[in-house]
Amino acid sequence: MRDVAVLGVGMHAFGKFEDKSVTDLCRTAVVAALADAGVSWREVEAVAAASSRFSGGKGWGLNGNDVVEDMGSTGIPVYNLSAGCSAGGNAFNIGTTLVASGLHDVVLVVGGEKMPKGFIQTSGVEEATDPEFLRQRCVGVSGPAFWAMLCRRRMEDHGTTEEHLARIAVKAHANSVHNPYARFRKPFTLEQVLKSPMVCFPLRLYEICPVSDGAAAALICSADFARKKTTKPVWVAASTVATARFDDGITRALAATSPSGPTLHSEARIGVEKAFERAGLGPRDLSLVELQDNTVYYELAFPEEWGLCAPGEAERLVEKGETGPTGKLPINPSGGFQSFGEATTAMGVFQVAELTWQLRGESGGRQVPHAKVGLGQTIGLGGNATAVILKT
């Protein structure tokens, strides 16, 4: 397989944009990524796009086709990838595979989404054969309630306090102050977070991510092509896709088998472990992590589940500020989903953009000093997951 470089990235700011279509958001991101790479649209040989569940794509998830038509139809192949909230990471994986295999030299990866307001209504189908419908109708399990159950167990096992949870939100927004693409850019005090309304005990409003509109794009290419354009490309050390194991104890429907081991998102762990393996790198090599913080809980659980820190150590890192940009284990210097809101299918590409800026040293006030290796990670409905490791 050939080396793959990230030559350019671009983003549309996240927020709520009632006067714009998802194609408008994607256009901004794509034009920025092309300009950043110094590549013209006519040089793009293929597109790998995240299939939006909620907007555009002609109602069939054909979001890559929307982008190609908008930019100018050149007859190139388009791959529309669907994987819930990990669709962006999935599209990035297919894009890198197209380049690594030698099939294409220049590929555009894009993800954009306009989300309906409020809690995500996952399926919209009211049928007894739909597990998500049964969860919500028979029990009343909202997304935040699911996260709250996992979080509550951690509080009992590791002594996590409500203040630990709030500190993570405060850190997220301290970072987002320095990110012009973030939706929420005001700093929060600990008191403000702890006084925000309880959504699902123990999780408060400012500790879970809302939904947003947004888009991100990445122009990736072969090593030969990259060297013609830049002396300092960012390299794809690994890109992986994984799905959940049968016995991890996570109740993705009404029930699961009681696990023999710890209860955790096996899909996320498999994706990250495979990424380390393929990159020939380990947790100690990481300069920063961009992980899927739908809720602050995951900033405690995921680093431990992936071996980035010892079990029960995450709270100590939070207390000491070690997950900030200048700490031992910088997590989500972008501000994360907490500060951006989740434009679901765009997020895997959003992470690639932030990692790229960090590795180039272009992240300003949220810059991780001397960033050399960055990990990105997403999970999505259906037990989907992706991981990506970029390096200088």
Binding site: R135, S142, C200, T251, T257
Partner: protein, 139 residues
Amino acid sequence: MKQRIPVIEGLFAERAEGPRLLGSRCATCATPYFPKSPVCHNPGCDESRMEDADFGPHGVLFSCAVQNYPPPPPAKYDEPYQPYALGMIDLAEGLRVLGRIASDDFSKLRGGLPVELIVDHLYHDPEGNDVVTWQFRPC
């Protein structure tokens, strides 16, 4: 006349010996399923041989949460909205199931708490019927 009706047919039954969840189990590998599954999903199982199985009433709370904020559709609830507790319950049969926790004092709910299966009120439908679902009660 107002009736007591299950939120979805075929998921639970109120038998003489008490309420039970209606699921299935693979006779080869003993993996339990709820709702019923037409096939065994255990990748380590050599032959899917599904049989109907009842689950409950005894379980242990793995973890719980409180739905302080009204959940989005398709969840349904009576007005005015009252927060409820819900949890992941490990049943004695090796099944981890989601369910409401019938409790007036959420502060007493902790992982490891023994619970038992009940069938209780979920919401009133537009005709005023008592729509019921499976729930768990600390015991």
